[in-house]
Symmetry: C2
Subunit: 229 residues, 2 copies
């Protein structure tokens, strides 16, 4: 019987690639998505399609009322989503799309589900190479979280069984896409845009769209999502 | 203007005491309670009453679907709640009432709200003296969580502004109650029992009831909640 793993799946290309990597490593897949009041709810539908395409044992969508907390332009429609930021700006400034403590919360919930499933294996698709300046995408955070989870859970305490895998952490956008394509990820199913247009298309210039475009350019192929629009 | 603090408030006597301590330290109080599918939902009503009695700026009840994750007799009615465990057993064995990663999740959400409010001050009412064997009530976990939160949040990164206060960590049950009484906590409003009877009374013999009884005995006073039943 293969070992179970919980994979955080947003519906974007990073997490889709991470799901495919966990599969290629022989894990039985438990994908976890959050309905946290994000304005780009379309990513949840994307996560469902990706789960189906890659083949998961279970896909759980957990409700989390972060829109009642606010503090981010992803959960508070009064706050604007920044557009057209340069790679340099992304590295230097944490944008308004930062959701307070999001990856701490998401990882904590993933640990909870993993424990209930009897496993300590958790995957998260963060990259510290090309990213939007979020502090919770850096390796020092991931390592520290793993340590904390091993101190504060039944699965971890005295046994150190919680393992946070972040297979994309040192990959550039282009490398992520090439890796995913080699594993059969259908990127036309993924969704990245923070700020979809009224007609449902991508905005093309939020951080998430910019990083996605950079990735496909680096990988030397065209984005099937943009082409299909 | 006084400094804001987020206080995790379950509705039990520890968190009520913690709320009163934060008030005595001059903080403006933001109390946070979770509706996480716990079977003893009555504690949420208790949290509302305590918030009102002690006087908070805001009381937020966050929905969190942990009952869809399970793995605990507090969120899964198929699992039994242990009764009549001795203090020794509580120290040695993590019981079925353990909710996977609960304090990791609760603290993460508290950090999120604190960030959105523009503060890094968070209070949690854990005690490592008389407790139910939960790993997420120990000081090494709390310290590690603080470190992680300071690495993974905008408020923390490079500034170390997240501070997890656990003022009860070294207090016995009796000391907690004496402290609370000196600060005017009305313990008749608090709720501790995991397993309320059909008529709404306390079971009297779950870990939480046992620890509560021990506390009032040590403090040398009678429990106003039990007396009012």
């Amino acid at each position: 019987m293969s070992k179970k793993a919980v994979i955080l799946l947003s519906g974007g290309l990073d997490s889709a690639t991470t799901l495919a990597i966990a599969k290629s490593e022989g894990f039985e897949l438990y994908a976890m998505t959050f309905n946290y009041g994000q304005r780009h709810l379309r990513e949840i539908t994307a996560a469902e399609k990706i789960s189906h395409q890659i083949g998961v044992k279970e896909h759980k969508v957990l409700r989390l009322g972060l829109e009642t907390i606010g503090g981010s332009s992803l959960t508070d429609k009064e706050l604007a989503i920044p557009h057209n930021r340069s790679p340099q700006e992304m590295k230097e400034e944490i944008p308004l799309t930062y959701v307070p403590a999001r990856n701490v919360i998401f990882l904590s919930c993933a640990v909870a589900w993993a424990e209930a499933l009897g496993t300590g294996e958790i995957f998260i698709g963060v990259s510290a190479v090309d990213y939007s300046g979020y502090p919770d995408c850096r390796p020092e955070f991931i390592e520290s979280f793993e340590k904390t989870a091993n101190l504060g859970t039944k699965m971890g305490v005295g046994k150190g069984k919680i393992r946070i895998h972040s297979p994309l952490i040192n990959l550039s956008r282009g490398e992520i896409i090439k890796k995913g394509l080699s594993l059969g990820v259908d990127y036309s199913l993924t969704w990245s845009c923070y700020d979809p247009r009224a007609d449902g298309g991508v905005c093309g210039c939020c951080d998430s769209c910019s990083l996605r475009r950079k990735g496909f350019r680096e990988a030397g192929i065209s984005d099937p999502l943009v082409n299909s629009e």
